[in-house]
């Protein structure tokens, strides 16, 4: 294949990422002079909105060029769709952090630049058309989050979370890079398109498949798919809740965006057992995520395992890239970003200054004491459980439709059976809030910014639940969704 001249830069596609980078740099500079992190937060939010507007402009008027740097950095519908979701998740997390960092004694202004950098990494991952770009994005995304996980310094649990995440994350990255080396050895290029073409001949398939498997493992770590999910519950429990709001959404979107592109473009050229292995991983994720969540008593841990389970549902879409799986995954991730960030936002109001108190018992009687808080959490939980007419249901229908059309009936049935389990543990929280009397004082935390985040998530969950066509039609543009695929 002939590549365009080396510096074919499409600035409109790069603009969202650059906006994040510039804002991160500016906020870092601000952080030197401001003790109060709120100004920094507002600047960060402005940067996120700017990036969003750049992405929107590109989305409305796509340029002729689908990618920059010789198909190494995409600006196609898929990249932009995932950029939207990442920016949405980041904005929600900034709002949740805005006036809660002080309360939780986490108020150091470097927080926001780190968050922006991590979002930048996720955007690069979603746009990557090349394995090196992918690794760069992954590292830019991960390193700040390791720091943010341990943001509650002198707290053993938070430090443990950061350390654990860092060690396991580094392990995952190593796997990924090793896999990339093998793929390069087999295909002679890092570019997805080039790999697909040079591997199509059928030589060196074993080597390439081994490389593909290691890439799958590396990205599976970030996507928290079983059996590479073990870090997730501990990190979610140990890290400060606003940070979890961020990473439960953004990291997952980045990882899945990259996975989708690799699986859709490169995997068809590899040995078919890799797809079978992926199916087994997805099945394991569904079973382990849902059954483990059922055993938990801490709501944060329940949601952590539920995040693992949702990686399983997204994995179903991975198996059906030719049958509408990609727009399905994008829609599912949108819904997931809204409902999961919403649920964690509510949770951040429930926990005390040390981020403790997420035990189920604390939720007893919340329906009577904080009716609005309980009602919104109920909405998010029902949506996570896939109850219509909320966004999670539309996402579930799309994903299952795709996986059934691709012929994975056993996985569809397994997925639906585990969904029953999921509904039980989600409903358990609702049951505590409404069907029991309170034994504790109601949490008294109130935060306007967090309320705004909750309201945005709630409106989105309802809107995309009642009118899913609005967003899915934009995503569902057929073959051109992955440029060149």
């Amino acid at each position: 294949m002939t590549f365009p001249p080396v510096l074919d830069v499409d600035w409109s596609a790069l603009a969202p990422a650059l906006a994040l980078l510039v804002t991160a740099a500016v906020t870092l500079f601000f952080a030197l002079f401001h003790k109060d992190s709120r100004h920094v937060a507002i600047t960060a939010l402005i940067g996120v909105v700017t990036a969003f507007l750049f992405a929107l402009a590109r989305f409305l008027e796509p340029g002729e060029q689908v990618a920059s740097f010789g198909l190494r950095y995409y600006g196609d519908t898929m990249a932009l769709a995932f950029t939207f979701i990442i920016l949405l998740g980041t904005a929600l997390a900034i709002l949740v952090s805005y006036d809660q960092l002080k309360r939780q004694d986490l108020d150091r202004p470097e927080y926001y630049p780190l968050m922006l950098l991590s979002a930048l990494g996720a955007v690069i991952m979603a746009s990557s058309g090349d394995l090196i770009t992918l690794v760069l994005g992954l590292e830019i995304m991960s390193l700040p989050v390791y720091v943010l996980s341990a943001w509650r310094t002198r707290d053993r649990q938070s430090e443990e979370a950061g350390m654990k995440y860092f060690l396991l994350g580094a392990f995952g990255s190593a796997m990924l890079i090793y896999g990339i080396a093998l793929l390069y050895g087999a295909g002679g290029t890092f570019v997805f398109e080039g790999l697909a073409q040079s591997l199509a001949g059928g030589q060196l398939t074993v080597l390439a498949t081994l490389g593909g498997a290691l890439v799958l493992v590396g990205l599976g770590f970030k996507a928290s798919m079983a059996p590479f999910h073990q870090w997730a519950p501990d990190v979610y429990t140990g890290a400060p809740t606003p940070v979890v709001t961020f990473m439960s959404v953004v990291i997952k979107v980045g990882a899945f965006a990259a996975l989708l592109r690799v699986v859709a473009v490169v995997f068809p050229q590899l040995s078919p057992w890799l797809i079978t292995a992926l199916a087994v991983i997805v099945a394991a994720t569904l079973i382990i995520g849902n059954l483990s969540a059922l055993m938990q008593r801490g709501v944060k841990r329940i949601l952590a395992y539920s995040a693992v389970a949702h990686a399983g549902y997204l994995g179903l879409a991975l198996l059906a890239p030719d049958h509408g799986g990609i727009p399905a995954a994008a829609f599912y991730l949108t819904a997931y970003a809204l409902m999961n960030a919403g649920a964690f936002a509510v949770l951040s109001l429930m926990t005390d200054a040390n981020d403790r108190g997420d035990d189920l018992d604390r939720f007893a009687g919340l329906g009577a004491k904080r009716p609005w808080l309980a009602a919104t959490l109920t909405f998010f939980l029902l949506s996570l459980g896939g109850i219509p007419p909320l966004a999670g249901f539309a996402g579930k229908v799309l994903v299952f439709q795709a996986v059934i059309e691709a012929g994975w009936y056993w996985l569809a049935v397994l997925g639906i059976l585990t969904s029953v389990v999921a509904l039980v543990y989600y409903f358990r929280i609702i049951a505590y809030m409404y069907f029991r009397e309170s034994e504790y004082e109601a949490p008294s935390t109130r935060s306007t910014a967090t309320n705004v985040a909750i309201a945005v998530a709630l409106v989105g969950t309802l809107l995309f639940g009642l009118f899913p066509g609005l967003w899915h039609d934009l995503l569902n543009v057929g073959q051109t969704f992955i440029a060149g695929f």
Binding site: P389, F393, V397, F400, Q401, E405, L417, P468, G469, H472
Partner: protein, 495 residues
Amino acid sequence: MISLYVILLPVLMALLAILARGSAPLVRGLAFLGGIGTFALALFLAGSEGFNAAWLPGIGVNFALDATGAGPVLVLVAALVMIPTLLVAASRVEKGAAGFVALLLLAQAGLNGIFLSKDLIVFYIFWEATLIPGLLLLGIYGGDRRRQATLKYLVYAVAGSFLMLISILALKALSGAASFHITELMIATPALSAATQTWLFVGMAVGMMVKLPLWPLHSWLIDLNEQNHPSGAADVLGSLYKVGAFGFFAWALPLLPAGAERVAPYLLALAAVTAVYGALAAISQDHLKRFLAYGSLSHMGIIGVGLFGLHLAGLSGAIYFLAAQMLSTGGLFLVAGMLYHRRRSFSVKDYGGLAKSAPAFAAVSLFLIFAYIGVPGLSNFPGEFMALLGAFQTSPWPAAFATLAVIAAGVYGVNLFQRLFQGTTTVPTTDLSPLELYVLVPFVAGVLWLGISPAPQLRQIEQQASLVTLQLERVVEAQPGVPAVTLAELPGGER
């Protein structure tokens, strides 16, 4: 458009009721307005123009509603039942009446959606969404063992309906239908092989059996009714939400005729067992609500017998019975609630001889019990009779067995009345209050209406039932891929 308004109005009223939760009179007014308004709309529903809008065009889902066939009849009867039920909820629930009313209204909106939707996914959306208000009513307002009952209800309902969802999605994927609209599905799905149809039918049947309900998937119903709020208002909703029969009638049977023919004999046997089991269990109950739950389970068995006989008269009769039982069962649950209001007990042993001090109460109750056990001239009789008659044409033995339930009904019905209202007086009790009188009048009127003049409603139901039999005949003709039914013959066919 009325078919859309009949769903939106209760939702709107529910939201208003929540906003007005501070003021009891306002909530009562909104409840009344919601009930009457929906009923008024439902009166003009039959034959009105449908509604169609793209919902998720990427996978062929349209928000399609249509007011032909059996749907409008069920909406109308449900709306009639809901007026007094909402009144009872607004005045007899001491704590959180606004929430109770709002949940009832939301459930009513969902029910109307179930009855009117013509797109399979939209049908599923309403089917599933209606579960949540019912769960919350039970969990928030229920009795001491409400949590176990809620969990049981949740697991039964969700396990069934999620399997149904898989069948629904596979239905389109395998048949290659262009969308989930019933007309497109009905053309495409009968071409599927009999084995495929059987599997898909089983998947759908599990979800629908839970909500029919059929033995042995019925036990959630008994606990639900026992633990629900003592006013009985939530139990009325429970008797409206037995939509499994409608699911079979409107979707599973016409879409998968070959599967239906293979599976129906087994379901017929289960239905006959349900009918007799429910009736026998009812005889031995002391708890008033459990009694009504088992009696109603027996009715559902007879409805199942009518359905799975796969005969035109049986199908129409079953759906007519489904509409009619809303009145008698619902009315009796409210009567039970009124008794509880007087004595704080659901145990039949605590009552007796009430007729002396409360003659009007006794008379109305006797009337409703007569309707409940299927006395000719009252609402349950035409449907029950036709359901059994239809089943006799195709499968006489199960039908004959199920008829035992009708005999047992006479026993438990009269027995109940004697134990409650006759015999030696225990403690004198107050007769019907004006509110209670107003509450029971719509039930009495409805029982007479459906009992005396069944023909117009039956015509509407038969219009849809004949579709089912048409689809079943296509299996016999065995011409896969050749549509024997033209588009215009189907409900909403001119889409």
